[in-house]
């Protein structure tokens, strides 16, 4: 084992980065905040931090859908649409059926979309990318049909969602009341529950899990349903933040959420990564958005930059994991 000492410091650094991906991510985040402060001195203050966290929360929650599905080598591109549907259905039904019922129906819609994804991926074995893209398309069509018949009675957003979405306590957004337990549960669950372990296992080698007695369809079915429900909850929270239901409410979260998970070190081919990285990834993307807004960049530049960042970070990870 004397070879270890012969390793160059660069390679050692690389190894550390692979084993603890959170460190470079945090450094990147701090670096970006530093640049932001240089660009506009004084912008980084408690109020700004609160706002950044507020907008990072829904991104990170949809990012959970992406992280969990990506661990199995999948993806959930319907998450944004599902979140939108839950938000829209809930907001339009509150005046008609009351808050608890509307919430239940809204989340039930999300669960159904998740079940459809689960069925497609688990039973019919469609590639998740295609299945969820298709489900998103279908669900969006359903939403458009729905809004033609239901919009008449107006919309109302439950008070507690507004409190969660816009309220602050001690300068921190109230959304954390939901998000902190949520994140803790996911991070604990991915390592310390049988289901979490199986996500990594299925993503690493599905044939091997089959020979070990795992019925893969059960895992996929549960996973995509869970992903749908998480998307639904995110939709409700986002509704509280944005305060106006629209037909494209959470759609802007779809691709950035994939970016957040990828930047956070979760491999899109499965078996590697985790949710803590995604949370930092969501913060990084949110800070970056602020920066671009500040520079008054046209939308085109923002997209190009997002794309290049996903590419660069993933390329860096690939390089580092290969050396390890």
């Amino acid at each position: 084992m004397s070879d270890v000492t012969e390793m160059s410091t660069a390679k050692q650094l690389g190894r550390v980065m692979v084993d603890y991906p959170l460190i470079p991510l945090f450094l990147l985040l701090l670096g970006l905040i530093g640049v932001l402060e240089i660009m506009q001195p004084g912008i980084v203050n408690p109020r700004w931090i609160g706002n950044t966290i507020k907008f990072a929360i829904p991104l990170a929650m949809i990012g959970a859908c992406q992280t969990l599905t990506m661990l199995t080598g999948g993806i959930d591109l319907s998450a944004g649409t599902v979140a939108t549907i839950t938000a829209f259905v809930t907001a339009t039904l509150v005046p008609i059926v009351g808050v608890p019922e509307a919430l239940l129906i809204g989340l039930a819609c999300a669960a159904v979309a998740g079940l459809v994804n689960g069925f497609g991926v688990a039973v019919a074995q469609v590639h998740p990318l295609i299945m969820t893209l298709g489900t998103g398309l279908i669900a969006n069509g359903c939403l458009l049909v729905y809004q033609r018949y239901v919009i008449a009675s107006g919309t109302k957003i439950p008070d507690f969602l507004v409190w969660l979405g816009t309220g602050r306590t001690l300068g921190l957004p109230n959304g954390l009341v939901i998000f902190v337990p949520f994140a803790a549960l996911i991070i604990w669950g991915q390592r310390r529950t049988g289901f979490g372990r199986l996500l990594y296992a299925v993503g690493s080698n599905e044939a091997a899990t089959r020979l070990s007695g795992v019925r893969g369809w059960q895992v996929y079915f549960a996973l995509y349903t869970l992903s749908g429900i998480i998307a639904g909850i995110t939709g409700l929270l986002y509704l509280g933040i944005v305060k106006t239901p629209s037909l494209s409410l959470a759609l802007p979260l779809d691709l950035p959420s994939v970016a957040a998970a990828v930047v956070g070190g979760t491999s899109i081919f499965g078996g590697r990564g985790g949710y803590s990285g995604t949370i930092v990834g969501a913060l990084i993307l949110t800070v970056l958005s602020t920066m671009l807004t500040l520079l008054q960049m046209p939308e085109g530049v923002r997209r190009i930059l997002f794309g290049l960042i996903i590419l660069a970070v993933t390329a860096l990870y690939v390089r580092l994991t290969e050396k390890g």
Partner: protein, 493 residues
């Protein structure tokens, strides 16, 4: 060591080194091959053999060292470049394109068709359609086609990596004959194999690698095996296989009656008792794959009955088989392991399979089970982290440890020692015996006939999808098994 002979050497590699991050795969490997010579390249698993082969054939770049081909310094940067300089490899896994026809595969590599056909005929593959998709061909045929393609390029040096593994015996003989003929025609062959009998038959010399360095170069003489083993193991020879005392066979654990599956398993019946290690001997493709797949719940039977402890069972998924106590170690480690996960996660996998176990993991209980299994199998876990960083032998141990941690009732081992080093093989024999002594039942398919005596109590011989003989380990010398495997005993013609 090599200076004097380099004039006549076709291939002269010296001081080759390669590291992957912290892991040194090769530190000082050398190999000299002279014209008209067959040289065996030997080494236990993890000795750096496969890395050396990849470097020689241009599939990997080297960190340092020299490679002279026909006296010229060569820097082979790809298999195509190696081929141009006269060194043509036949790798362990067939390198034909599954979705192209045989003809298109030849076009792809600019292989002369007439020469290819000549070698296919010489190697005795009849009825090959040149427009057949490669995907549909059996593994043994693919390997022969790969060899024929290499030979058609008239290589100065032919490199055969475990060429005869998974080949039926008649093909092995033809391959060995062709190898010898190459040498007689003044060409050279690098022959990599774990099988001493073949090496004794065709090789002139053996170059032995250990821990990434060439440690010896011996002419092949009678009795050289002991020297080679000593060099490979570096003196640290493990204990011999546990000898077994005469013991009473227990009750029937697994009963198989008239089992039929796929196109090859026609009619197989046998009983596997508690406390017994039952060998399965068969030439390639006699239905043994289907047999193990059915017993492990990985494939449906077309007919026949399977009983476990007298109860009839039908498995529609491996989970059913596991619930009945039948657990499989498949022939290919890549099918069993989560390469990018830890040893612990790999071993604990079956413990979490059922949805009832999807909740919080009892970490302490799991840790204890995994540790016990690791210790029992003496898995070298110095390479912390991902299983892919382990050597082949240790990976194989992990696939077995998985079932030890869960508790073994009936273990189905499909060629568990294929391609691993002698020390690990012996550990596996001892473990299997140990498990049987504790009441487990073990079904042990092996492609190496000598293993039957080392590991089994008796062996069923399958030929053409039927059991043709049952042989006691005491009588299971290689000629007897060989005759049976060819269907020459047991059943009337």
């Amino acid at each position: 060591m090599t200076g004097q002979d380099s004039g006549t050497a076709v291939l002269d590699a010296s001081g080759v080194a390669k590291r992957f991050g912290a892991v040194v795969a090769l530190r000082n490997a050398s190999l000299v091959v002279r014209r008209g010579e067959v040289v065996a390249l030997m080494g236990a698993n993890g000795a750096g053999k496969s890395t050396f082969v990849k470097i020689l054939t241009g599939a990997l770049s080297r960190d340092s060292g020299h490679i002279l081909i026909k006296g010229r310094a060569t820097n082979v940067t790809s298999p195509a470049a190696a081929r141009r300089s006269g060194l043509v490899p036949v790798y362990q896994e067939p390198s034909l394109i599954p979705d192209l026809s045989v003809t298109d595969n030849l076009r792809l590599g600019d292989t002369p068709v007439a020469a290819f056909r000549h070698w296919v005929d010489a190697l005795g593959i009849g009825g090959l359609g040149m427009d057949d998709m490669v995907r549909g061909l059996p593994l043994a045929t693919l390997r022969i086609l790969d060899l024929a393609r290499a030979l058609a390029g008239e290589p100065d040096v032919l490199l055969l990596d475990e060429m005869t593994a998974a080949l039926p015996t008649d093909l092995v003989e033809r391959v060995l004959r062709v190898v010898r003929e190459q040498a007689d025609a003044g060409r050279s062959v690098i022959y990599i194999s774990h099988r001493f009998t073949e090496i004794a038959e065709v090789c002139d010399r053996a170059t032995v690698l250990r821990d990434g360095a060439t440690v010896g170069d011996l002419p092949i003489t009678p009795g050289v095996e002991d020297q080679v083993v000593e060099l490979m193991l570096g003196g640290a020879v493990g204990p011999p296989a546990a000898s077994r005392g005469a013991h009473e066979a227990g009750s029937v654990r697994l009963g198989v009656r008239g089992l039929r599956a796929g196109t090859r398993l026609a009619d197989v019946s046998f009983d596997l008792h508690r406390g017994e290690v039952l060998g399965v001997v068969a030439l390639e493709g006699q239905g043994q794959d289907e047999l193990f797949d059915v017993l492990a719940g990985n494939r449906r039977a077309l007919g026949g009955d399977v009983t476990v402890d007298g109860q009839a069972v039908v498995f529609s998924h491996p989970a059913d088989a596991i619930a009945a106590g039948l657990t499989l170690v498949p022939g290919d480690r890549a099918h069993a392991l989560l390469m990018s996960r830890s040893v612990r996660e790999n071993i604990a996998l079956p413990l979490l399979a059922r949805p009832a176990k999807w909740g919080a993991i009892p970490m302490r209980d799991e840790g204890a089970r995994v540790l016990a299994a690791i210790e029992r199998l003496q898995i070298d876990t110095r390479a912390q982290g991902e299983v892919r960083r382990l050597s082949g032998g240790n990976q194989q141990k992990v696939t077995i440890a998985r079932w030890i941690a869960r508790g073994v009732q009936t273990l189905l081992l499909f060629d568990p020692t294929r391609g691993i080093d002698i020390r690990t093989k012996r550990q596996i024999y001892a473990l299997v015996r140990d498990l049987a002594d504790q009441g487990a039942a073990v079904l042990f398919y092996t492609s190496e006939l000598a293993e039957v005596r080392l590991a089994c109590d008796r062996a069923v011989v399958i030929f053409n999808g039927r059991v043709v003989d049952v042989i006691d380990a005491a009588d299971a010398d290689e000629p007897t098994l060989m005759r049976a495997a060819y269907g020459l005993t047991g059943v009337p013609a």
